[in-house]
C-alpha cells in the first residue's frame, strides 16, 4: 500500500503520535481519522492544499481545539508521556513542552523584542520569583533567574539575528523579522517539539533561506524536533526529513520528501487530476524527474 511508511523511519523513536484524530465542526468533518507520527530529532512537514485541515490538526495538537475523537501522545526525552487532548492549551506548552507559532503572526507588538522573549519564559521566572511574593521582597533567586532569562533571550536573538533590534517594539519590526521573532519566542519556552504554522509565508527567497538555516540550527543545537505546516515547497523539500500530506482531512501520503514528491495521490491532490488520469500524470512526472536528475548535480 502506498501509505506504508518507509523502513528507515520505522525504526525511529516517535516524539508525537497522532492516532485516529477526528475533528468535527457541526456538519463539517474537518479531520477524519487522521494518524501520523513525528519522530524525535526530525523536521516533519505537514502539507496539503488549502482547506485540507492542516491548521486544525495543529490547533488540536496544541490544545486550541479539543478533538472530537482520537488520541495525541507526546513522548518526552525523559520518557514521560502526555495525552495532549486532555491537557488545557497552556499546560501543553508548560508541561508537555510543545511550543507553537501562528499562521497570522501574533506578536506582543507594544512590548520590546526582548520583553517578548522574557514573557515566553514566564513559568520558569514565576517559579524563581516564588510566585511573585519572594521576588517582590527582593530575594536574590529572582535576580539571578532574571539575569539568566535575559542571557537566554540574547542567545535566541543572536540566532534569529535580531539582537540589534532588541530594544525596539516588536510591532516596529518588518514582517520577516517578526516571523523569526515568533520562532525565537517559541524556543524561549524550552520546547521539545516546535510546531510552526507556515513559517515561510510572506517571506522573500532570501528570507526563506535564512529561515531554513535557523530551523536547521535549532534542530542541530537543541535537538528540538520540528513539526511544520508549509506551502513553500522549496522550504519543505529542502529541510524536512519526513512529509505528511493531508487532503480533505485525510492522510493521502506519508514518507520522506522524495517518496511524497512522486506519490501519484499527492500529485493528483495538488494538480487536481481525475482518478483515471493519475497514471498518466505519474508517467509525465517521471519523465521530468529523469530530465532534472541529469542536470541537477
Amino acid at each position: 500500500m502506498a501509505l506504508e511508511t518507509t523502513t528507515t523511519t520505522m525504526k525511529k523513536d516517535p516524539i508525537l503520535s497522532v492516532e485516529h484524530l477526528s475533528m468535527r465542526f457541526g456538519g463539517l468533518m474537518a479531520i477524519n481519522d487522521f494518524s501520523f507520527e513525528a519522530y524525535r530529532g526530525d523536521i516533519t512537514a505537514l502539507i496539503g492544499p488549502n482547506g485540507a485541515g492542516k491548521t486544525t490538526v495543529f490547533n488540536c495538537i496544541t490544545g486550541f481545539y479539543k478533538p472530537t475523537m482520537g488520541m495525541i501522545t507526546m513522548k518526552q526525552k525523559s520518557g514521560k508521556e502526555y495525552l495532549l487532548e486532555r491537557l488545557p492549551d497552556f499546560e501543553i506548552t508548560k508541561q508537555a513542552k510543545v511550543a507553537r507559532t501562528f499562521q497570522n503572526i501574533r506578536m506582543f507588538s507594544g512590548l520590546t523584542v526582548l520583553e517578548n522573549l522574557l514573557v515566553a519564559q514566564h513559568n520558569k521566572l514565576m517559579q524563581a520569583s516564588g510566585y511573585t511574593f519572594l521576588g517582590l521582597l527582593g530575594f536574590p533567586a529572582y535576580k539571578q533567574a532574571s539575569k539568566e532569562s535575559i542571557e537566554l533571550a540574547r542567545h535566541w536573538l543572536e540566532k534569529a539575528s535580531l539582537v540589534d533590534r532588541a530594544d525596539d517594539p516588536a510591532g516596529d519590526l518588518p514582517y520577516g523579522a517578526q516571523r523569526r521573532l515568533e520562532i525565537a519566542r517559541a524556543m524561549c519556552t524550552g520546547p521539545e517539539l516546535l510546531c510552526l504554522d507556515e513559517p515561510a509565508a510572506g517571506l522573500n527567497p532570501r528570507e526563506s533561506l535564512a529561515l531554513n538555516e535557523l530551523l536547521r540550527s535549532i534542530r542541530g543545537e537543541t535537538g528540538t524536533s520540528i513539526l511544520l505546516i508549509e506551502h513553500d515547497m522549496s522550504v519543505v523539500m529542502e529541510i524536512s526529513d519526513h512529509v505528511v500530506v493531508l487532503e480533505y482531512g485525510q492522510k493521502i501520503s506519508d514518507g520522506n520528501p522524495d517518496f511524497v514528491k512522486n506519490d501519484p495521490r499527492v500529485i493528483a491532490a495538488y494538480l487536481g487530476v481525475e482518478d483515471e488520469e493519475v497514471e498518466e500524470v505519474i508517467e509525465e512526472i517521471e519523465e521530468i524527474e529523469g530530465g532534472q536528475g541529469g542536470s541537477k548535480k
Binding site: T62, F64, D89, F90, E91, I92, T93, K94, A99, R100, T101, F102, R106, M107, F108, S109, G110, L111, T112, L114, E115, L118, V119, A120, Q121, H122, N123, L125, M126, S129, T132, G135, L136, Y142, S146, I150, A153, R154, L157, V163, A166, D167, D168, P169, A170, G171, D172, R185, A186, T189
Partner: protein, 461 residues
C-alpha cells in the same frame, strides 16, 4: 544685504496689504450675513403689531470683530504659526537633551508632596491650611491611588472595568463595619480591607473570565451596581441609605488626634486643631499611594506584570507560551481591587461616615477617565491627570470672582461636569493616548527606549 532687507520689507508690506484686503472681505461677508439676522429684528409692540427694530450698532460690532479678527489672523497669527512649525522642524534635527526637571520629575514631585503640608502651614496658618491640605491634597491623592489601582486592571492587563468603585466601597464598609461592631483599630483593618476587596475582585473575576470588551464592561458595571444596591438594602448591617457614622479615627502609634490630655496636640505642645489630623491623613494617603506605585513598578518587572501586559497585547499568544490566563486575569483583578480596598478604608477613616451615596457609577467613570486621560499604564501621566481633574473641580469652588462677571446667581461648581467633559474631549483630540502615551520597557539589552503609544494595544477585555 540691502537687497535682502528690501525684499523682506516688501514682503512685510505685501502681507499687511493682503491682510487689509482680507479684512475688508471678511467685514463685507459678515455684513451680508448678519444684516438680516442682527441688524433688523422683528418684534411685537404693545398693540400686538409687528414692528421692525433697527440695531445698526450691534451689527457694526459684529462686522468690526470679523474684520479685525481676520486682519490679526492673516497678519500675525498665521506667520507666527508658520515660523513655529519651521523652528520645530529644525529643532528635531538636533538631538534633544531632556531637561533635568523632566528626567527627575517623579522624585521632585514626591519631595514636593512631602514638604507640601509644612509649607502650607507656614504660608496660610493652621486654620487656613485645612482647605489646602484636605480639599486639595488628600482629595487628589485618594483619586491618584484609586486610578493607580485601576491602572493595574485597565492599563496593564487591558481588562475594561467599569465597576471599580465596588472595591472602594468594599474597603470603606469593611473598615466602617468592623471598627464599629468589633472596635478593631485602623492599622489592623487596613490590610483586612485590602484582602476583602481582593477577595471580591476574585469573585468578580470568575464570571467575567470568558468575556471581552463591551461584554466585560457591562458585567463589571453591573457588579458595581450590585454592591451599591446591597449596601442600600441590607439595612440591618449597613444601615442602608443612612450610612454608617461615627467611624473611629486612625491613631499614630496609639496617639489619638483629639482634645484629650494624651492627644497629639497636647503631647506636641500645640493648640488643638483638626488641621493636624488632616496633615496626618495627608501623609497616610501619600504613603499608601506611593506603596501602590512602588508595587506596580516592581510588579511590572516581575513575570506576572509582564504576563499582564502580554495579556493586553494578545491573549492567544499568551496561552501558546504556557501562561495560565485564568490566574493571570484573576491576579490582575485581585491586585487592582486590593488597592481600591486600601483607598476605601482610608476614605472611611477620613470622612468618619460612609453611605452608598459615595459609591455611585459616576465615581467609577471619573476614575476610569483619569486612567485614560493620564495614559494607560503610565503612573506619572495618571497622577497628573488626577491632579488636573480633581484639583480642577476643587478650584471651581474658589472662582467666586466669576460672580462679578456672570451675576450673583452664577455658581461655577455646577459647571463641573460640563468642563470635565469638554476637557476630556480636548485632551483626547490633542493627545489620543493620554498625557503620557508612551510605555517604558521593563527590561533592556542596550538602551532603554520609550515605546510609542501607536504600538501598544488598549486590550480587548
Amino acid at each position: 544685504m540691502a537687497n535682502i532687507a528690501s525684499t523682506s520689507a516688501s514682503a512685510g508690506s505685501d502681507l499687511t496689504a493682503r491682510a487689509l484686503r482680507e479684512a475688508v472681505f471678511a467685514g463685507l461677508i459678515s455684513l451680508g450675513l448678519f444684516v438680516l439676522f442682527v441688524g433688523l429684528k422683528s418684534d411685537q409692540n404693545i398693540r400686538n403689531e409687528l414692528v421692525l427694530n433697527q440695531r445698526w450698532g450691534l451689527l457694526s460690532i459684529f462686522v468690526i470683530v470679523a474684520a479685525v479678527g481676520r486682519f490679526l489672523m492673516v497678519a500675525y497669527v498665521q506667520p507666527a504659526m508658520a515660523r513655529r512649525k519651521a523652528a520645530k522642524a529644525e529643532a528635531e534635527a538636533v538631538v534633544k537633551e531632556e531637561t533635568f526637571f523632566k528626567r527627575h520629575f517623579s522624585k521632585i514631585a514626591i519631595v514636593a508632596l512631602i514638604f507640601y503640608p509644612p509649607v502650607v502651614l507656614a504660608l496660610v496658618g493652621v486654620q487656613g491650611s485645612l482647605k489646602w491640605v484636605d480639599n486639595f491634597g488628600v482629595q487628589i491623592l485618594i483619586y491618584v491611588m484609586l486610578a493607580w489601582g485601576l491602572n493595574i486592571v485597565v492599563g496593564l492587563a487591558g481588562l475594561l472595568d467599569l465597576g471599580y468603585v465596588a472595591f472602594y466601597a468594599v474597603g470603606a464598609y469593611s473598615y466602617a463595619l468592623l471598627s464599629t461592631y468589633f472596635g478593631l483599630s485602623f492599622w489592623i483593618l487596613l490590610p483586612v480591607a485590602g484582602i476583602l476587596a481582593a477577595f471580591w475582585g476574585m469573585i468578580l473575576g470568575f464570571p467575567v473570565l470568558r468575556l471581552r470588551g463591551d461584554y466585560l464592561a457591562i458585567v463589571t458595571l453591573a457588579f458595581g451596581e450590585i454592591i451599591r444596591l446591597v449596601l442600600i438594602n441590607w439595612t440591618e448591617v449597613t444601615k442602608g441609605t443612612f450610612g454608617v457614622s461615627g467611624i473611629a479615627k486612625a491613631t499614630l502609634f496609639g496617639i489619638k488626634f483629639d482634645a484629650s490630655k494624651d492627644g497629639f496636640a497636647a503631647m506636641m505642645g500645640l493648640s488643638m486643631s483638626s488641621a493636624y489630623y488632616k496633615i496626618f491623613l495627608f501623609y497616610l494617603i501619600l504613603a499608601l499611594a506611593l506603596l501602590t506605585a512602588y508595587v506596580t513598578i516592581r510588579l511590572r518587572r516581575m513575570p506576572i506584570g509582564r504576563a499582564w501586559e502580554a495579556l493586553r497585547e494578545d491573549e492567544i499568544a499568551c496561552r501558546s507560551l504556557g501562561i495560565n490566563t485564568v490566574t493571570t486575569k484573576l491576579t490582575a483583578f485581585a491586585t487592582g481591587a486590593m488597592f481600591g480596598g486600601f483607598a476605601g478604608a482610608f476614605f472611611a477613616v477620613r470622612q468618619g461616615f460612609v453611605s452608598p451615596e459615595s459609591f455611585v457609577f459616576l465615581e467609577s467613570a471619573v476614575i476610569l477617565a483619569i486612567v485614560v486621560l493620564g495614559g494607560m499604564g503610565s503612573l506619572t501621566g495618571i497622577a497628573i491627570a488626577a491632579a488636573v481633574m480633581i484639583g480642577g473641580t476643587e478650584i471651581l469652588r474658589e472662582l467666586s470672582f466669576l460672580k462679578a462677571i456672570f451675576g450673583p446667581d452664577f455658581t461655577p461648581e455646577l459647571y463641573r461636569m460640563l468642563i470635565f467633559g469638554l476637557a476630556m474631549v480636548v485632551v483626547m483630540v490633542w493627545k489620543p493616548r493620554g498625557f503620557v502615551g508612551s510605555r517604558e520597557p521593563t527590561a533592556f539589552l542596550r538602551e532603554r527606549k520609550a515605546i510609542s503609544g501607536s504600538f501598544t494595544k488598549e486590550g480587548h477585555g
